[in-house]
């Protein structure tokens, strides 16, 4: 009963909802990026490394004197480049999307750490930059511009995917590439484009961490967020609107466990609370797996004339 009262108190506080939106932002951007790749038929396990890359590159640009939005742009460009690498391996070359993705993650992560250590050889306490500040709005609306950007991007991706010829092409190459080819579309071009754009979105998720949520780059700071995004895409049945909902729901649980940790921290080990997001993701996967409607050509490489 006491626990129930505590949870209720947390749920009605404005600070809680502010935190929910803040925690949700990288999940929204990452899930949106992965969704775009998968809708075109390409699983992108590079997400974890691409997020790390975005976090490092965006932060580094700002640390070197660029302004914040330039940093965001640099992150997106780096993410796009990593996406191009993944797309080259998996689309024209048709290599295993699983292994190529793991490779991209290993490369993105190690390259980020390498560059960071090269520029800052003996930084024991990570240097900081002046991050995005929350807008001057009441209550939970007091978010940084990147959170609003993420919300706008959900609408943009949803519109493009369902209301434009480009979106139709993306969905088509993910469902039935042979039919798309027969319509005169280049399956390769559409898939590569979708993976590059999706990867740029993933890098934005990383940049949010270093330029908005925190003000420095830490090793291991992405901490499995990319993998959680992959679970969220399945949970959202590959729909942008549901992805937003899933990310918010997930962030609400995360914000709740953070606050319960403060209340019940003395009684239960904090690691139990930290496990929650990962356990929750697995649970979500199990719940929806039976009726998940995968894009039909997901993970199937397409080569002209080959069946």
């Amino acid at each position: 009963m006491e626990l129930f009262q505590t949870i209720l108190d947390i749920l009605v506080s404005a600070a809680f909802w502010t935190a929910v939106l803040r925690i949700a932002t990288p999940y929204i951007l990452g899930t949106l990026g992965e969704l775009l790749c998968e809708r075109a038929g390409v699983l992108n396990l590079g997400i974890e490394g691409i997020m790390t890359m975005g976090a490092m590159a965006g932060w580094m640009a700002v640390y070197q004197g660029a302004d914040l939005w330039t940093g965001v742009l640099v992150a997106a460009l780096c993410g796009g480049l990593m996406g191009l690498l993944h797309a080259t391996l998996t689309v024209p070359l048709g290599l295993s999307q699983h292994v190529a993705g793991i490779g991209v993650t290993l490369l993105g992560t190690s390259l980020s750490y390498f560059v960071y250590r090269l520029v800052l050889p003996q930084a024991s306490t990570p240097p900081t930059v002046e991050p995005f500040q929350p807008l001057d709005l009441p209550g939970a609306l007091a978010q940084t511009p990147m959170t609003y950007m993420a919300l706008i991007l959900v609408a943009v991706v949803a519109y493009v995917l369902y209301r434009t010829p480009v979106g139709l092409a993306v969905r088509m190459v993910g469902e039935n590439p042979a039919a798309a080819e027969a319509q005169g579309l280049s399956v390769t071009a559409v898939r590569v484009g979708a993976v590059v754009a999706g990867s740029a979105l993933m890098a934005l998720a990383g940049a949010f961490l270093t330029l908005s949520a925190f003000n420095a780059f830490f090793f291991n700071m992405v901490n499995g967020r990319g993998w959680i995004c992959i679970a969220l895409v399945v949970f959202a049945s590959w729909r942008p609107g549901k992805a937003l909902l899933g990310a918010l729901l997930f962030a609400a649980f995360d914000a709740l466990q953070l606050r319960l940790q403060q209340v019940a921290g003395g009684v239960l080990p904090y690691q139990l609370f930290l496990m929650m997001p990962y356990l929750l993701s697995i649970l979500a996967l199990v719940l929806v797996a039976r009726r998940a409607s995968y894009p039909r050509a997901l993970m199937i490489p397409y080569r002209k004339g080959e069946r």
Partner: protein, 349 residues
């Protein structure tokens, strides 16, 4: 330009592919080394010297290769059956956990009995950790890539919780580490006054054993058939689900054993930094070996050499030792392309 499948892959091409991939990776990373301003040839020279230039360097490389052989085998057997086990890191820690629980004085057995017991328990712990995702895959169709990846984080938090709680060493000066394993649970040294231990022999023996199973038994045949085409295998009357679960137990068991061997052969106790990503590097090892159990040994020694050599190199010049991780990742990506060229040929038009 288009790709045309080869009807037959010459053995020379299969053997040459990893060499070509590694050369390509070294060339690509040379650009990165040059960017740091360090002389490239000298840097690679120091790397080689640090990995194999002395008796000490060689034993260090082989010590590092030991867990990599096991995680490499774990990835190889799983990927063969198209079970995408990316969770070797977590399974390794579960094995290590079993080692410190049972080897920490709970069982009062002589060494010849205690060591095998601890190893079997560690392998069982690792296998059980992968069995969960495998069951979810065959029962509910849940993608095992995500579940095994997420389990890595859950296991690490579990280990952290136990190291700060039930398993915390009271003599550990407050550090989150377990009590050391008893002497009877320590693997004997292979070379005196070095860190190289008999765990290497266990790893080599398992590699040979897996090769035998793979080529000489129905088990191995079924594994390969299910990996190549599960529907055809089912049609031929093979128990696809059972093969999957069997593979999961084997793969997770190998990774769990890597954890046992690191604890009992090298560290003596469990900390949160027992594995510098052995589980993930194991994937690269398996791919470089083209999933061949014997090839895994060579690939593991190579990857271990990169890590050990890069540490030595970065002490001598201003190249961060993360260059090793970049080299390993680049090798994996180059290997994918090289592997493709052994299966396909480029044709004009």
């Amino acid at each position: 330009m288009r790709l045309e499948p080869r009807e037959h892959t010459p053995l020379a091409a299969r053997l040459l592919a990893p060499v070509a991939a590694v050369v390509a990776a070294l060339a690509l990373c040379a650009l990165l080394v040059a960017w740091t301003g360090a002389p490239v040839l000298r840097a690679y020279g120091l790397l080689l010297e640090g990995a194999a230039g002395s008796r000490f360097a060689l034993t260090e490389t082989l010590t590092r290769a030991t867990p990599l052989i096991l995680t490499g085998l774990a990835a190889a057997v799983a990927f063969r059956a198209k079970l995408w086990n990316i969770g070797a890191e977590g399974q390794l820690y579960m094995g290590a956990l079993a080692a410190v629980v049972l080897g920490g004085g709970m069982l009062d057995l002589p060494a010849w009995l205690l060591l095998p017991t601890v190893m079997i328990a560690g392998a069982a712990a690792g296998g059980a950790t992968l069995l969960g995702p495998a069951v979810l895959k065959v029962r509910f169709g849940v993608d095992e890539v995500v579940t095994t990846l997420l389990l890595n984080f859950i296991v690490l938090l579990l280990v952290s919780m136990l190291l700060e709680g039930a398993l915390k060493d009271p003599m550990g000066m407050g550090w989150p580490q377990s009590a050391p394993v008893v002497e009877a649970a320590e693997l004997p040294k292979l070379v005196e006054r070095t860190r190289l231990h008999t765990g290497l022999l266990v790893a080599l023996g398992l590699s040979a054993l897996l090769w035998l199973i793979d080529t000489r038994t129905i088990w191995g045949y079924e594994n390969r058939a299910v990996g190549a085409n599960p529907r055809a295998a089912a049609f031929a009357g093979m128990p696809v689900t059972r093969v999957m679960l069997r593979t999961a137990l084997l793969s997770g068991g190998l990774a769990g054993l890597a954890g046992v061997i690191e604890v009992c052969g090298l560290k003596g106790y469990l900390t949160l930094d027992l594995s510098p990503g052995f589980g993930y590097s194991g994937i690269v090892v398996a791919m470089l070996a083209q999933l061949h159990p014997v090839g895994v040994v060579g690939a593991a020694v190579f990857i271990a050499g990169i890590f050990v050599g890069a540490d030595a190199m970065s002490r001598a010049m201003p190249v961060p030792n993360y260059i090793a991780d970049v080299l390993v990742a680049t090798s994996l990506l180059c290997m994918l392309v090289a592997g493709l060229l052994t299966r396909y040929r480029l044709r004009r038009g």
